[in-house]
Amino acid sequence: MKLPIFLDYSATTPVDPRVAKLMCDCLTQEGNFGNPASRSHVYGWQAEEAVENARRQVADLINADPREIVWTSGATESDNLAIKGVAHFYHKKGKHIITSKIEHKAVLDTCRQLEREGFEVTYLDPTSDGIISADQVAKAIREDTILVSLMHVNNEIGVVTDITAIGEVTRAKKVLFHVDAAQSTGKLAIDLAVSKVDLMSFCAHKTYGPKGIGALYVSRKPRVRLEAQIHGGGHERGMRSGTLATHQIVGMGAAFAIAQEEMDADNARIKHLSQRLWDGVKDMEEVYMNGHPTQRVAGNANISFNYVEGESLLMSLRELAVSSGSACTSASLEPSYVLRALGMNDELAHSSIRFSIGRFTTESDIDQAIELSRNAVIKLRELSPLWDMYKDGVDLDSVQWAAH
């Protein structure tokens, strides 16, 4: 079976072979297999050294102190630890949290849980191109606000949040600021000596590292306190217990070091490829790029092919591994909540495909994606009664549909 072309780098990335090699060296008897918490012998010391080296590599990418990095199992756990950890520690100061409607479920579902525990959450509306502004945040902050949680780069539409501007607002108002940066490492420069962020979530697997490992940046100056969510041996200064997974951690460190080294070259190439993709389809009628045209990362192209339903489009694009904004397969029949939050109508939301481009994408991959997409859209529009109606000049909003 011929494997489809992978254009889903926003979902995950393959581990860089250079990273995989280093990880393999931390598994077997001949390798660095010790428990980093073992203080009484060289196996433990070596493992600890590898873990601390990786901690420095992660800290270096974001210009932080290694002591500000806490290992977790991934960005979902980091988000949980940051948001619940702050809420549970600072609840006497206030019970109000601010986030947005286009956050990842790891943030939204955590906020829902806190609502059940008696916290109040404000969900900010993005602009139609997916921007949450510092001004909006400033207006939403109240006396009892303890935390603002926003993502750096949106996973569906690739739009970038101005965390430096928002950090100025939150710091001035003495409100903690958490940023989910799962989608931004290796794509955007992050400098936490400049951006006033108190907590930042990371994972390795969107940046050519392994799945199952992540980190939370917890600021030391000013000092941020957290209530631990996982208790045990008091690892990670009590914030997150559990034996450290040396091979995973080494993988994350190496992946982040490569990201730092190669980010500019990677970005230039990926930007060229995304532009090539968009140039290859944009002349078709009723095709739209979703999200802000310039305030976005290079690798994400979320495109709506109007009057074509996303799942059937995916079916025609079986030679491509991409995602759809339509969640018909999940039986919910709901189009993406992110696209809906931008105020997009349902047909357009159902018609969207997220192409995400990465380190191993080639020009020939993109050219094939263009050809397959064009052919599929032409074929499905031939089949689409909505396309007929559009061509006949019927306003679809004026039609009385029987919702089912």
Partner: protein, 125 residues
Amino acid sequence: MAYSEQVLDHYENPRNVGKMDEADAHVGTGMVGAPACGDVMRLQIKVNNEGVIEDAKFKTYGCGSAIASSSLVTEWMKGMTLDQAGEIRNSNISEELALPPVKIHCSVLAEDAIQAAIHNYKSKQ
């Protein structure tokens, strides 16, 4: 998700795609579904003076199973009387296409489209 061979066949080679003149007294048109729900089917039948469906056409905006369901019923309906066509049930469609539970609504929609087309034709007589 995995699609059955029958769904793939109708999806790759949809039968009877097209549009007939809605104003023609011999033509019945049924349009069901809504863009917001991710599927819209337009099914049209042409009925002769003996009450037999001579031709059927469809266009569908929706997932592969919705396209296959409507393509299948156009094949079935040709040569049927209106009464016979009116007896096609969603279970016949879902069984023929081996639809998984999450896709049963596609066959329900196709049954609705048949009923709507017959109703539209009868209302014109």
